[in-house]
Point group: D2
Chain length 386, copies 4
């Protein structure tokens, strides 16, 4: 089973992740991870800090000569701006901290609830870890794990289907269309007109001191039927994928296949008939289930959607209260992105990777890529003959 | 930490659950659990089997003289119809099984993917466990755990906000209104007119050989700020709650607070300003966050919603394929509810109980209710003074 | 991954276990489980209750027509004496309990520490669950899991190597000798003379109102090299096996291979040289490591030993204190075995089964026995060619 | 719950550990961790590499201004000798690796079994991670967690009770005696004569090209009764502590209290009578149980012992086989300590820290040290009044 722990404060010296359980013998391309990290920093609507960061991953264990060893993998993303933050963020005892406390909690962030929970008076002690900066570590994990999944011809795509008030007109798009179209969109949207409207919406929001959220969709193809399990609730892939997505900063809704729309339709409109062809084996003409029935992959494309709320830190700050004086104040301003939905597509693709990989490792064994490839091939042969 | 395993096939002798980790000294009322089980079986739109079952729980360990001991709790729900199924479902070796195989997978169920995964030729070996009958076991767990949470004045409500094409007009309703109104609704809807329309929609669906899904909302009040944690993604309450809800049979979407609507609004419309009053302490005039910021409770009412797809077993069955002959067939008919959304509200309330209880046990310790009550009271005093 | 929860008080209605994660398609013989349960109750030195019990297992889920389904398996062992205990042990609220409290903690048991932890005034609330009766549930699990391991030609043996002051003269015995000799020993000892002396020691202890412990050894053969892992401490098989054995009631010491003796020898006396033969592949002339190097199986016989303390409940009770009056008293007498070491060999064999099975499932995948057998065979072929 | 992952190859750039779950507000002294790391490198019998290393910890997250934040803590121990190893151990693809393969497995190490498991041809890919170098990371964790435990007046000591053939004459020594005596022993032995004999034994072994193991004892005082639990086998502290100790490289035996000796004695010689005094509360005149009854602390000193085998890498190497040519060879020599038992006492103290801390967090809650101190004090008051 893959396990990983991420660590690091937003303005600390580095983000660190240890990923345990990767099979041996997998070729890892560090530049591919860097590309994922770069993708996370792109997207129209990001603010100034993204330029500073230019994240790069260092690999400090678990990989030798370009291949996984089977031992835990350490990845580090250094904070390029650390020298400017060292005094404020040092692990050592220092007098400076008491003078620069954050005492104005930002609505929509965990500043206040976190300070209460952990008994912090300086809410920097909360916000530094709660920051979405942490997703860079999860993206590094996902980018690495996708190199494993790609070896088995499992592929992933994600695109923005709405951004603020602008909806992508088509709700169901083909893989190839999406893949092609999002390349020329600065907001990762597969519809040119909607893409242009989204950019405008971001500009308007910026002018208004506002922020915007949106909805994105993830598609995965190449999964065989039979990953995940219905035998116990906490082994269902639907629940595990929902947890992974909902635990991304700012996500407030998750759906699979038809999702909420399924609630408004009749049974015959929702469920996907089963057909069989000598060439295709079992197949479905529709994919309302989004590739999951009973928490198990059914061989169709996995379709997930997540809704992201607008970034809570506004240029026209919301009403807050100073936690020391209890006086009404404006919330602290900590960063200045207008919209992070395009970036969230990258995070979304990343966080589902360990979930899918675990389902694979459970079914095909854990230790070595050649062993896994053999079991994988045997299983596909069996599936085609079923 | 609470752990539990559920077991039991739908037509097997019984459902069994073992719940490990409950503190000692909690008074448990078995009749209250039976009431939850009865509620799960009610709701306009259920079919004939619900009448047969009339679930009752037996408690076979972990409780003595009416109080939890701290040791694992065994609960059993017997299958009242077991004598009719014994021959087909016995654990013993028997010749009868090969003659009565289920070979027609039902679209929308895991019949086919499960048979492939576990190499079953008789899909009864899949459907018996994948059945939503299993939720009775999870309801027993939830009903018991809510007796613990209720001791701390934590309360839960759930109601149907849409059923098939019929939507409850008001999307945000007060606790007391919902609590009062759902009592007189046979579909657990807090709006009289919508309730009547939902009943009609069910009647129409039944006549058409169809089924219906819907959306329900759960509200929890009495939670202090500071449950759950932002420090690591898998400790966030939003993700854990999403997993619990999404892993209910038939659920295809989950949202928190404004949920998907948050994606379409601007930051200032979504986030909840922070106010302070000498009496109230910190409070919010709105609750777009649904009680969770950064995966942590913020002291407001927890608001969760889930979308249920229509029941996949239709009276006018969908197209399928016989897995042995590979001929096109109609899908097997296994049960006959038209709509289970009202029942799903009960399951929804149940499955979040262990998640919330674990967040509480983590913060307040595990062993004994008096110890927990003391820590709970101390914490509330601290929160009020923060 | 196999998971299981056991439940049940010693004099409650039943012991229950749910075992989750067993692959499908494994033929399960209930009588074999009953035989393990009978073996656990045998052994010279057991007291009267063993006669009452005659444990029998019922299988109430997860197995159909004699084969595992992949779904959770429920096993129940009823308490044959329940009618005599119902009034005292009922889950329902009852007045009788306050009149028959156990207030005299027994040294060597967890009575006092458990009462303090869980705030019980009646120590029956502790001792009923802490009782070694619980091991019957773990034996049922082990007996079932061994049916899986046996399919892969993995075999287990255990024998008593010392009982009270009597030591088995030979410390290293061959598999076949042990297997043959223990059949005619009433104390599961593979040396006839030692066996007779052990019986006498038990008789003397009984006369003296005393109890005896001892040391037993478990051997497992048929494990390939490469189970377990050195890459992270909590995946090492040595640690996991030690946990399983040390968590048996009454066990105070665990060792692997030479164990404590290894501490007194020089390196060249302890480590097992590596040889290679065209027929045998890699092999070792000695087995000081007990089959585990770096927490990983090395292909040799796994050799584990555990030390059991004498049963704490003596006929000449130890000094104690009444927890209510604080007056000095004699400890409560609750049962009357003189020696349970032969029984502990059965428990020992049982508790390591899930640990070994998990190492196998991790390496060879989880879902179906045919799939696992194929991967197992492929791996052995690879090992022989390495 | 505390969780941690360690990572790092022995000659890689660094060891890394992420520790998740530490409460906030705990003052952390980095120098104290460095002292533990230094202690791990000391002890008569260590070879040349220990001098090179001089381990120092860097703290890169989770601590700010000297106090824990509640967020994950990253600790790094750099390899001072990395420049000499960079070419051989780089994560990047490189041609050099194929020329310097390790193909001679060392008996007593996991070289061969690990290579088979993970399909490595170069056994450096195994030995780098399996190396006891990894214990430096676990010592860093333990050293940090002991700072938390010390705040609650929980203290730990460890000493060598036998080293090779030399046994410390007294098997049960007082805390103060041990604490005082081990300061002047270069082998961490609390008996002057034995200490001198141990040093000589190490010298003799070195001359003979041999290595030595031994047995050490850990004592912990200040634990209240009621940590750990008897209610489920995997929550028993005895099992969890045994796992932690047995998973240290080279450990082949673990015992608690009388341990294996308990197997040879009668019940009345083993179990600890319970007394009560107005001042002392409940107490025991003896401590055969080693502070654990039924897997739960009973308020007496916790006493654990572990046996370490001699270091497997000998200067007069054991017989091995080249895995490529299959020719008989001498095993690779990789390092040159003669005895690491004194160092193992440090590792032993470290690895039990997270186990004990988790038992505490479970009972007293998780979030903040002041909260925990309050619950701790309340519990001690309750215990004294019990």
């Amino acid at each position: 089973m893959l396990r990983f722990l991420t660590a690091g404060e937003s303005h600390g010296p580095q983000l660190t992740v240890i990923l345990e359980g990767m099979p041996s013998g997998i070729k890892i391309d560090r530049e591919s991870i860097n590309q994922w990290l770069a993708d996370r920093q792109k997207g129209y609507g990001r603010g100034g800090r993204m330029a500073i960061e230019r994240d790069q991953v260092s690999i400090l264990s678990g990989i030798r000569g370009g291949y996984t060893l089977g031992s835990p993998i350490t990845m580090v993303i250094e904070n390029k701006d650390w020298t400017n933050w060292r005094e404020l963020m040092t692990a050592e005892d220092t007098a400076v901290l008491s003078k620069r406390k954050v005492t104005r909690p930002r609505p929509g962030h965990v500043d206040l609830a976190g300070a209460i929970k952990y008994r912090h008076q300086d809410m920097r002690n909360v916000l530094e870890r709660a920051s979405a900066r942490e997703t860079a570590a999860r993206v590094a994990v996902g980018a690495l794990v996708w190199q494993f999944l790609n070896l088995l011809n499992i592929e992933v795509l994600a695109h923005v289907i709405s951004l603020g008030p602008v909806k992508c007109p088509s709700q169901e798009m083909d893989w190839e269309v999406v893949q092609e179209q999002i390349r020329r969109s600065s907001v990762c949207c597969a519809d040119d007109e909607a893409s242009a409207a989204m950019v405008k919406a971001i500009d308007r929001a910026r002018e208004a001191g506002e922020t915007l959220g949106g909805v994105f969709e993830i598609m995965v193809r190449g999964l065989p039927p039979g990953l995940g399990s219905y035998v116990h609730w906490d082994r269902r892939l639907d629940g595990l994928l929902a947890q992974a997505l909902m635990s991304i900063q700012g996500i407030k809704g998750v759906e699979i296949g038809l999702g909420f729309r399924a609630g408004f339709l009749s049974g015959s409109q929702v469920h996907d008939p089963i057909y069989y062809g000598a060439q295709e084996g079992f197949y479905r003409p529709t994919n309302g289930a989004g590739g999951l029935e009973g928490g198990v992959t059914n061989g169709e494309i996995l379709v997930l959607r997540a809704a992201m709320k607008p970034i809570p830190t506004l240029m026209k700050p919301l009403a807050s209260v100073d936690v020391i004086t209890k006086e009404p104040v404006e919330a602290t301003k900590e960063r200045s992105d207008v919209c992070a939905v395009p970036a969230a597509t990258v995070v979304g693709k990343a966080v589902i990777a360990p979930v899918l990989a675990n389902a694979l490792l459970e079914k095909f064994g854990h230790d070595n890529i050649d062993e896994i490839k053999k079991a994988w091939q045997d299983y596909w042969d069996y599936v085609r003959d079923f």
